[in-house]
């Protein structure tokens, strides 16, 4: 575990999380959630648990984002 990389990744996590809950575009929020999962996978990876990392990358950044985008196509894109 390398401390500077860890701090940079956690800083990005906080920024992405705040952006994901404040943005008005739901599609952008979903993409930001996928980016959150990707950074989180990097955090798991540099903690040394590679299986959790690729599970997070496959489910959080891959399938979950695809399902959310497909769900947005059934509703409106902009938050009222």
């Amino acid at each position: 575990m390398i401390l500077p990389i860890d701090l940079i990744l956690l800083f990005f996590l906080v920024i992405i999380a705040i952006a994901a809950v404040t943005v008005k575009d739901i599609l952008a929020a979903v993409i930001l959630t996928g980016a959150y999962s990707f950074v989180m996978a990097n955090v798991w990876l540099q903690m040394g648990s590679s299986d959790v990392a690729f599970t997070e990358a496959a489910i959080g950044a891959g399938v979950s984002t695809a399902l959310m985008v497909a769900a947005i196509s059934r509703t409106t894109r902009w938050e009222k």
Partner: protein, 167 residues
């Protein structure tokens, strides 16, 4: 879904060659990695992750080539078959333990399957049965469940596009 009639025409007519070729090239490797995660290692773990990676590969195919061609590749019947076959495989491996040992061991107590235990030993039988029956069962069920979820969300979209184009 803004734009009315122009977007479906464009989407149907001009498919992106680069995206199609790249996804067609990368799909076998995604599926191979999914199977590796599922049965590549001896011991528990990996069924859900491997199934999710397989589902992600098929979802990539459905997204790139459209829900109609995806349905031709993975019909509803095949999807339902995989969904229940995985469950049968998982439950059957547990039930075989009781059947082979005449009720001496409990459900999912893998060394109870004595033909495999005689062949490769207690630890070997546990590893083999978990790898090839339990993990594959979990993985197939998870894969089919994710694919059917994605179809439920993506398929109606295509039907509505057809309605829009007729109007």
């Amino acid at each position: 879904m803004t734009g009315g009639g122009a977007i479906p025409e464009k989407r149907m007519a001009g498919r992106d060659v680069i995206i199609e070729t790249i996804s067609r090239l990368i799909l076998p490797f995604i599926l191979l990695f999914g199977f590796y995660v599922m049965i590549g290692t001896e011991g528990t773990g990996g069924g859900f992750q491997g199934g999710t990676i397989l589902a992600a590969g098929f979802i990539l195919y459905i997204t790139v080539f459209g829900a109609k061609r995806g349905r031709e590749m993975i019909p509803e019947s095949v999807n339902t078959f995989f969904e229940s076959f995985g469950l049968y495989l998982y439950n059957g491996s547990g039930l075989l333990c009781i059947i082979f040992s005449m009720g001496a061991v409990q459900f999912l107590n893998y060394p109870g399957i004595w033909p495999v235990t005689d062949l490769v030993g207690v630890a070997g039988s546990r590893a083999w049965i978990i790898a090839f029956m339990v993990e594959v069962g979990i993985g197939l069920t998870v894969m089919a469940a994710f694919i059917s979820q994605y179809f439920d969300l993506a398929w109606k979209d295509e039907e509505e596009e057809m309605v829009v184009r007729k109007e």
